[in-house]
């Protein structure tokens, strides 16, 4: 009898424990923020390029300040609609905007509709940041709101004249190089155009095996670091300023596309990428004047502007978001999901802090003086 009673209580306790994270989320206070997300690269209805961002919006229970509803990943963004196969052309930003997030402007291409597993280049259907869109963004940008710009925004197919303006506004200068770490240089993840460009330029076959890093210049020049040139994936390392701002300690690795920018004085480097090079790797990069350390997160504290030198909001899997657990759980998720390690280790604390900063600014702005 006693055992039965004990089991019953245990079941109730376990059930309660199991339900607690979700229950806390339900009763968690919502954060009211007006956010505009720009993502032109939505060829499929997986919304991958802004998936990570919306996960955090839901996880932190950030709601639209106008209608007090959770942001909808399918509706609440400006860009390409994969269900209607149309791209929006008029960016509307409300007057009391708190945060503008430019996730991706690369766009949608003909081959994308055929799956395009090998990343073949094809005719652009929609994409590139226009002068008018950027003008609307800068028109809405004040000292009281935040702007986050992520790779790819200023690269192809954005017009070079627009890029120059964005660079000037963000106080950065793109070196012309982008790159990516591949765990297997023979995998289907390596775009076909990259292989073709390499083979055409070097007159050699793409015979790399194992891990490697490919760099592509805007002129289409390709530089490859083989497994003998590197000691693992690209390292993401916090600077002193980054650690102070985000209350983070652990560094991480980054395994997706990045760009290499040079910050101006106004920008603070909060984190940087470091390529773990061998001697041969150092020689290769030196020969092409490519830096092995370059900014990963840049922040202009005066203007409340951020530049992320990678596809940070891009997440491979849909994770359930409506729960509250200690921060150490993110670390556990990072270990369990190696492909999205950067998301759990870095992106969540960074964006959570940025949202909280925005919320504070909003609260101060709305505070009644009299």
């Amino acid at each position: 009898m006693k055992l039965k009673h004990f089991i019953k209580i245990l079941c109730v306790v376990v059930t309660l424990l199991f339900l607690t994270p979700f229950t806390i989320w339900v009763f968690q206070k919502s954060l009211l923020l007006n956010i505009v997300v720009i993502n032109k690269t939505v060829p499929q209805n997986d919304y991958r390029e802004h998936l990570g961002l919306f996960w955090i919006l839901h996880h932190r229970k950030i709601v639209n300040a106008e209608n007090h509803k959770l942001y909808d990943i399918k509706e609440d963004y400006y860009g390409y609609n994969p269900e209607e196969l149309t791209g929006e052309k008029k960016l509307i930003i409300p007057d009391d905007i708190d945060l503008i997030y430019v996730a991706d402007t690369y766009g949608v291409y003909e081959e994308d509709f055929r799956g395009n597993i090998r990343g073949e280049r094809s005719e652009k259907l929609y994409g590139g940041l226009t002068f008018y869109e950027w003008n609307r963004i800068m028109h809405a940008k004040t000292l009281d709101n935040t702007l986050v710009v992520e790779f790819n925004t200023i690269q192809s197919p954005t017009d070079i004249s627009v890029r120059r303006i964005v660079e000037q506004n963000l106080s950065i200068k793109w070196t012309g190089w982008i790159g990516r770490y591949f765990s297997n240089m023979q995998s289907e993840e390596v775009p076909i155009w990259l292989i073709e460009n390499y083979e055409e330029q070097t007159k050699k076959d793409w015979s790399f095996k194992g891990e490697g890093i490919a760099f592509v210049h805007e002129s289409d020049k390709v530089v490859v670091l083989d497994k003998k040139d590197i000691n693992g994936a690209i390292q993401f390392k916090w600077t002193k300023e980054g650690k102070e701002h985000y209350e983070v300690n652990s560094n991480s690795t980054y395994t997706y596309w990045f760009d290499m920018v040079i910050p101006q004085d106004e920008m603070t480097v909060e984190a940087q990428f470091e390529i773990p090079l061998t001697n041969s790797g150092v020689k290769t990069l030196n020969a092409h004047q490519i830096q092995s350390k370059f900014p990963a997160i840049l922040r202009n504290p005066e203007e409340n502007m951020y530049y992320f030198a990678g596809d940070y909001a891009d997440v491979r899997h849909h994770y359930f978001s409506k729960w509250v657990l200690p921060k150490s759980f993110y670390r556990l998720m990072a270990i369990l999901n190696k492909g999205d390690r950067f998301f759990w280790d870095v992106y969540i604390p960074v964006m959570t802090q940025i949202f909280e900063d925005s919320y504070k600014t909003r609260s101060i702005s709305n505070e009644k003086i009299f």
Binding site: K89, K90, T130, F131, Y132, W134, N135, R136, I137, M138, H139, K141, S161, R164, I165, V166, N169
Partner: protein, 584 residues
């Protein structure tokens, strides 16, 4: 016989060289010499007719140069080094083929830049530029009955494209209906009738296009409206303030247009702007009258002709009353922008009677500067001349002075004795642009035609008045600031420095500043500074954010303002904005 063939071969080779060199070189000459040369001439402030003349000279020069080169080719190669001559000719032919191919590619960057957008108007009709085979396939998939092509068979490039389009249509099973139209007002009646018959004979969907999808499709849109009753969205366009034969003036939001007799290209601007009636002031013997009736008939335009050799003020008053009563758009025309046009402009703009040019004192006729049909700036006059001035219809006399140049009391008495309304303005000196700008604004409020005189140099005052109400004299204009002259009353350029407010804005009488504000380039502080300065100097100021829809707002502002508009632009956007401001 051999000698004959030899000579024939030499001639053929020479002819082939001449043709291919002329064509290939001509293509490059057009792109890399004529186009930059034209841009340079525009920047130099030359008028369109002057530019046209210069370009004609350049083209004739190219033809002569071609002949000269071919003669050199004959002397130095064909006669002496035939092998080299053969190779050079082959290269030249290949180059000519390449140039031809480039012109044929409608998707090339140069052509794409000028192409209009595809615009679906309702269920049945879609308007746009030349469709390639991919687009034809898509139209077929989308259930289109056919394509109506307006490409002209008389233009070699268009003819080639037309053949290609018909072939593509046959390949994929889509009807291509050719109704050739010329980009200017030619005899397009047959084609328009053909389109009318086609679209009324069935209920199918059609894609209608010309080369760029801009001008000819606009004319067809009007036909469609008259046939189907459906109103199609017209491409927003600006109306030029100069035609080849003189200035053009717009009233009542562009419903009444006043200007000289249009050239062929200018006629198409009127038709695209849906002018429904022409009021002609051409004299009865004018050779243009027949042409006018012919064009009007072909374009469904009504003609109201006032045929008098000497038009009086009363005739013009009748014209004014007539056009004010009309509900549709009307164009009033004389052969040139003459004193008749300026008199009518005064009646419509100031709602007043203009002065009579012929009755002005001889000295005023010779050296006086006209401000439209309502103002003259001239010297102090004699008693007889004041009388003649009164007789010409001038009602107000304005004297401009400094503290050191008071008006002689006897002169004042003389002016009063003729019953003029007398006003005196004081300025610090002849360079007091700020005061003169204020005076120029104030003068507009006074009634009737006016005569301005002074013992001072009135050059600056005249320039301010001219600028504020009409525009610059493009041929003589020397800008104190680097600007692009779009038209007599539209200038554009960079932001205005502190010194330029007096030395440029006030000095040339700019009526309004339109700030095309690019937040990403200008910055809010610059905008605020301009707003404050405009307020301080009393200059009208309007901000248009550079968003996707700036074009329509800009056109509206320009249409509503007389006199010079200075448009502040970000330098990065100069080319695009210039295109927008000249998209007639």
């Amino acid at each position: 016989m051999k000698k004959f063939f030899n000579k024939m071969f030499t001639f053929c080779l020479w002819f082939l060289f001449l043709g291919s060199f002329g064509f290939a070189g001509g293509g490059y000459f057009l792109l890399f010499a004529v186009v930059p040369f034209e841009e340079w001439l525009v920047q130099k402030g030359l008028t369109q007719p002057e530019i046209d003349q210069m370009l004609k000279i350049a083209v004739v020069g190219w033809v002569l140069f071609g002949f000269f080169v071919s003669i050199l080719f004959y002397i130095y190669f064909l006669r002496k080094r035939r092998k080299i001559a053969g190779i050079v000719t082959i290269c030249m032919v290949l180059l000519a083929i390449y140039v031809y191919d480039q012109f044929m590619k409608t998707e090339s960057a140069l052509i794409s830049f000028s192409q209009g957008e595809i615009e679906q108007s309702g269920e049945r009709f879609t308007f746009g530029p030349y469709p390639d085979i991919k687009m034809l396939e898509k139209l077929k998939d989308d259930g289109y009955e056919g394509v109506i092509t307006l490409l002209s068979t008389t233009l070699p490039f268009e003819n080639e494209l037309l053949e290609e389009e018909i072939e593509n249509g046959q390949k994929i099973g889509l009807n291509v209906h050719s109704f050739p139209m010329l980009p200017w007002v030619g005899d397009n009646t047959d084609s328009l009738n053909g389109i009318k018959d086609l679209i009324t004979s069935n209920e199918g969907k059609y894609y209608i296009h010309c080369y760029l999808g801009k001008h000819r499709v606009d004319i067809v849109k009007q036909l469609m409206t008259s046939v189907t009753g459906q109103v199609f969205e017209q491409r927003a366009s600006i109306f030029p303030s100069d035609f080849e034969r003189g200035d053009v003036f717009l009233f009542q939001d562009g419903k009444i247009i006043l200007g000289p007799y249009p050239t062929e290209e200018e006629w198409s601007i009127l038709i695209r702007n849906q002018v429904k009636e022409i009021v002609s002031l051409l004299p009865p013997e004018s050779p243009k009258l027949d042409e006018l009736y012919q064009i009007a008939e072909g374009s469904n335009i009504k003609i109201h002709a006032i045929q008098h050799d000497d038009l009086s003020i009363n005739h013009l008053l009748e014209v004014k009353e007539y056009v004010l009563e009309l509900k549709e758009k009307v164009y009033i025309t004389d052969f040139k922008t003459s004193s008749t046009i300026l008199a009518l402009e005064t009646m419509l703009r100031r709602k007043e009677t203009p002065f009579i040019e012929q009755r002005l004192p001889e000295r005023v006729k010779d050296i006086g500067q006209r401000i439209g049909g309502w103002g003259v700036v001239g010297p102090p006059l004699t008693e007889k001349e004041w009388g003649e001035l009164k007789n010409s219809g001038v009602k107000t006399v304005i004297y401009l002075s400094t503290k050191d140049s008071p008006l002689d009391s006897s002169l004042r008495e003389m002016i009063d004795s003729f019953g003029f309304h007398f006003i005196q303005y004081k300025i610090k000196n002849e360079n007091d642009y700020r005061a003169m700008y204020e005076i120029a604004k104030d003068i507009w409020k006074h009634q009737g035609s006016m005569y301005l005189f002074s013992t001072l140099d009135m050059k600056s005052m005249t320039e301010i008045l001219q600028g504020m109400y009409y525009g610059i004299d493009e041929a003589r204009f020397e800008s104190p600031k680097p600007v692009t002259i779009i038209e007599r009353d539209i200038l554009m350029g960079n932001t205005i420095s502190s010194i330029e407010w007096e030395e440029f804005i006030l000095k040339i009488g700019i009526q309004k500043i339109i700030f095309l504000y690019a937040a990403s380039i200008h910055g809010e502080d610059i905008l605020k500074d301009h707003e404050e300065k405009a307020k301080t100097y009393g200059v009208s100021f309007e901000v248009i954010p550079l968003f996707e829809n700036y074009r329509e707002k800009l056109y509206e502002e320009i249409k509503l303002t007389m006199g010079i508009k200075y448009i502040v632009i970000p330098p990065q956007m100069e080319r695009e904005i210039e295109e927008v401001l000249t998209d007639y």
